[in-house]
């Protein structure tokens, strides 16, 4: 699938606020966003303060859906 080139010159990763409390450091600043790590892409919910992962869900597709791979 074709994607548009971003219109902004510099691009930032969106971090979506998530509800909850970090079980490690009790901070409530949690965010959901994708990361690339061992094993490929993951959708994570992480604590902004201590980077603990409250959720790590493998995402085999990642950023790009390849049209021909969907047939």
């Amino acid at each position: 699938m074709a994607y548009d080139r971003p219109t902004e010159l510099l691009v930032n990763q969106e971090r979506v606020p998530a509800k909850g409390k970090c079980p490690e450091c009790s901070e409530e600043q949690l965010f959901s966003y994708p990361v690339l790590s061992e094993g490929g892409w993951f959708k994570v919910v992480k604590c902004r303060h201590c980077l603990a992962s409250l959720k790590r869900e493998s995402d085999p597709v990642g950023q790009i859906t390849i049209f021909s791979a969907t047939i």
Binding site: L51, R56, I66
Partner: protein, 639 residues
Amino acid sequence: MIIDESTDRIRNLTEREFEAEYGASRYTCNVLANRSRFVAGHMSTNIVTRAFSPIISLNMDYVCAVVGPPELDYPLVGMNQGNFIFLGSLATGVRKTVEEFGVDRLAPGDLLVSNDPYRVGNHVNDACFIRPVFHGGRIVSFTVIRAHMLDIGGIIPGGFSLFKKNVYENGLVVPPMRIFEKGEPVKEVLRLFLDNGRFAATLLPDFFTINSSCALGDEQIQESVERYGLDAWLGAMRYSLDSSAEAMRRALQTLPDGEYEGEDVLDTDGADSEEIYRFHVTVIKKGKRVEVDLSGSSRQARTSLNATPLDAQTSAALGLKVLLDPQTPFTSGTYRNIDLVIPPGTISSAMPDASTHFYWEVQAALVNALINALAEPLGSRAIGGLYGSTNLHTGSGMTPDGRPWFSAAELEAQFGGWGATDAGDADGHTGTFTLNQRLTPTEEIERRVPVLLTAREYIPDTGGPGKYRGGSGFRKDSLFLADGDHWLMPLHFRFPSGFGVNGGKAGRVGGSWFFENQDPDKPECEYRLVGATDTDGVVVSGVVDENGALDENGEFAFFARVPYWTENKGSTLRWITNGGGGWGDPFEREIEAVIRDVRDGYVTILGALRDYGVVVVGDPDEDPEGLTIDEAATAAARA
């Protein structure tokens, strides 16, 4: 739920605990971990000694690897000392290829191939070959080769064009396919490659060599499983991964907690000189966890100056490894404690239909930005910046007797100066951290291309001054013996790349020029040899004064202001590369080291005084061993 990130060390396990965890003794696991790298090394020997493509046999633009089975999620467990630009694609790219093809469709002796950058990273010339290794009816490993195909079609022979506007101009895109089935070639798939690529006769035997190399690895893995048992083989894989993860985790813990930002900048994407491309890296370190965030980086380029996230992962992990943990083997366990955050649509995470042909330039800039970000927290362990771009060249034309000539990735200035470290001065003629390959030998270039390489020498006062000096810039001159068109793609002559650390200074920025032959009717033996200090060439790229000489207060000359450079026979292409950054205060450099640098031509007498506060007396050209120091003047200069 907390993701378990145990801080227990593997070495603290008792023998009994170790065997329970990894299914074999500590000794056996070490033997088999080494065995994976040994297998990859044998595959490498097989391919490098038999390949017909010079980019494989001479430049060693490939990597051989052993990847774990689906039940371990396709991890990279062993590789040869190959080209590191491929690292990030090896685990995730293999999984993508195998799962899309269908793991259940695989049989012993099969060889899969895919080259789609949006599936397996890199660019379309770098095909990924994957052979499943079966034992007792199940897949126990994959032997993998990622190798550069000499040609894959597209708008330019060899493919090295910055000016590709989309993936379609790259050439052939091959989704996951089976190129060998049960050991036999699938002729229609071979034909797909051969009918789309130039130099098909060279490519054909290489497919068989790649297949035989993967088969050799297969055979050696089978022997190992036969001898030590499957539990031990798989356990050793997990041991390799856990060892890498632990080594990186412990290395990361030596960084103080904090958020560290760094940047590198590439001049332009070649479409115009207006948009400058920024690589912004934020390293967030909290306890044992690290995030590398590329937010704030430039959007994807309009040309082929792009990379995929898998290529960015290579840079993030390799950069951290170079800085913090250079001693232990690389596996995909190295990534375990590093979360890479990459917004979609950046120059490091281009989206279809962008071309990613120049991904290695993106990788190099990312590593430079990363080591820049960590310069302060690393303190004495910081490394100076590198030379920037590989300054690619593609040329073609007709010889005087009417034969076509062609050259790609040979007549550029691909190597350059590294940054100095606390271990000492840096080398001035090495590839980027991610680009572990060799240059084509001069004799081979001159045999195939109508050109003479007339100079490759260091230029004094170009390495970043420091207690330890950055690698020097060098001059490379190529005298063409035939008319030709030249595509020149230097990407880091507008801004310094070799930043200094710990008080060290930046390396000098270089440039590129063409010296036209004013009298092409002269015989070859009378062609002008351009002198080292001659400055009457036309500047291709660099920040220069009105006469085209390097001047940091001058104007940037944009290399793509013409689509390509048409030059007559007898003209000379000149490169001057960027120097690497210095480490530490140059006024603390040992005086003996400064005098040695003056003797060896790395520093001039003037530079010794200006940059190092050392007053050298004598004539380095006529009496290099007779140089002396004016100690009183030096003490005054350094005071």
